[in-house]
Symmetry: C2
């Protein structure tokens, strides 16, 4: 069963009396009166992270993934709760030291604070992170407007290349290998944008499942489609190098997940302010397409304006 | 490693800048300024619940266990988030229907609302529940005073008997079997007390790990001990019947966990108001002992004032 159906068929009705739950149809919970924003995510070994050989890096990845849900909505994360299930090996003294040190570094970097959690014994390793922030307003999903520009922050695809390297599905020199693996574990989430995004975005989401999968999610309740220009999707110079070297096609690398960049739509009349803010905050913001009415299907086109067919639109959570 | 040491050695320092985290030394997180109270707990199959043959009951148990953490502090739970890890069998359509129906019943009973969560694939079944409430103040741990009376709500031990029956370690007639198993899955948590407890309690906790284990937790930062009178520990008439019938000793049944009753201390001068509130709210409140200074060790005594030695003080979380 698709994650959407699961929520729709079994859980949405339970949230009907809670407008703050946003029909379980957004990345976060937002109680406007209490100004409270909450995000809850579970990460399991073998699924959200390959293994626990590098606890210090896995911890950074899951913390960033969790607070990214708030940041992409224009909300500063403040508190986080971590609940870990694992065995004695996963939570050995040496691993606990590494976990603790990593959390400390992330706390300093993002000004967040460990506020509670739980530890339980399990032969399967998983973590649930609850992130909490406070805000007067947030940028929602499902608020894109026809003709909105579609933007993305930073670069896409580096993280997926890191994953392929970790899975030994690709070989590269040590310098590049280190670069991509670091991007996989420590994505450059856009905390500098957190106070700015509400000034221009109509709708936003962070890219965890893949550019197109998350674009679909962002507008899933709206009768809208989009047009994305493959050539405009921003990638790092390192990824450009690898694509040339290995004769790989760009589309497969930018449409996979784990980038944790912010995808948002904004009215055309915001172009100037977006340029200005990007330059002031030193954040890379790239226009990659636009929202259109539902006359045509969703589409991504190549340099010759020819529609690209995709085998895999990204990661979909299934049961 | 004992749970206390794990928190103390690796995580407490990370919460130092968050007074609301209460040094990770209480059941909840409390941001006094924002009036926000949060509790996060993980429940795994084979550990916190035996199996998932009765999803509708397991769900009730874990929801009550989670909101019990807030209720024992005098905080009305309002929102809950549920993050489930499981496989296709655990989250079959039939089970999802049962889960959804159960959540609906609990929502009506306790006036709580599903506000978000996550579902991930895993061969090991577990749930993490985040419960959120709002309050101007809470009843803390570690605030017991010398000579405080020690009270407990409801009855103890029924839930443990239910567990023994589910594990086939005991045989009883169907009527009793049903009673105890229902108590195991659907403990009578004391939501009626939630607005009252702050009027009299100096310190409180809910009994999840066992009477003495939780009593230790409630005063663990204080140089205090306690004296508990076994004969005063309240048990149901059904449990009384079984203890007589099977010639079992009371102590083993009241010192195990999963009761989700409230354990609290209060000054002697609150005895009258406690009696009055108990009668008005129709909540059973029983005085079972008192707090003493650290001259003697912690103790529980029998009818002849002889100290009882305990093999098992309850459930301790170890790694």
């Amino acid at each position: 069963m698709h994650e959407f159906d699961l929520i729709k068929n079994y859980f949405q009705k339970l949230s009907r009396k809670t407008p703050s739950a946003l029909n379980l149809n957004d990345d976060v919970f937002f109680d406007k009166k209490k100004k409270l924003v909450v995000s809850v995510d579970t990460y399991t070994e073998g699924n959200h992270f390959i293994n626990f050989k590098k606890p210090e890096l896995v911890i950074k990845k899951i913390i960033r993934s969790s607070i990214s849900d708030l940041i992409c909505k224009g909300v500063k994360p403040k508190y986080y709760f971590i609940s870990g299930s694992g065995n004695k090996k996963s939570f050995s003294k040496s691993n606990l030291s590494k976990i603790s040190k990593s959390l400390h570094q992330e706390q300093n970097k993002y000004k967040i604070y460990l506020s509670g959690g739980d530890t339980v014994f399990s032969d399967k390793l998983s973590f649930t992170i609850t992130s909490i922030g406070f805000a007067n307003n947030i940028v929602y999903r499902n608020k894109a407007k026809i003709n909105d520009d579609i933007y993305v922050t930073g670069n896409l695809g580096d993280s997926y290349l890191g994953l392929l390297l970790l899975e030994n599905k690709l070989k590269l020199n040590n310098h590049l290998k280190k670069y991509f693996i670091n991007q996989y574990f420590m994505p450059n989430i856009q905390s500098k944008l957190v106070d700015q995004i509400k000034k221009f975005a109509n709708s936003s989401i962070d890219i965890s499942d893949g550019l197109l999968a998350d674009l679909d999610k962002m507008i899933n309740n709206q009768k809208l489609s989009y047009k994305i220009f493959l050539k405009d999707i921003p990638i790092s110079s390192n990824l450009k190098k690898v694509l040339n070297l290995k004769k790989l096609s760009k589309i497969n690398y930018v449409s996979n997940g784990d980038d944790y960049q912010v995808l948002f739509t904004a009215s055309k009349n915001k172009r100037r302010i977006i340029k200005k803010i990007a330059s002031n905050c030193r954040v890379k913001l790239t226009k990659i397409g636009y929202i259109q009415s539902n006359v045509k299907k969703l589409s991504i086109v190549d340099e010759k304006n020819v529609q690209i067919s995709l085998k895999n639109k990204g990661y979909f959570h299934m049961f």
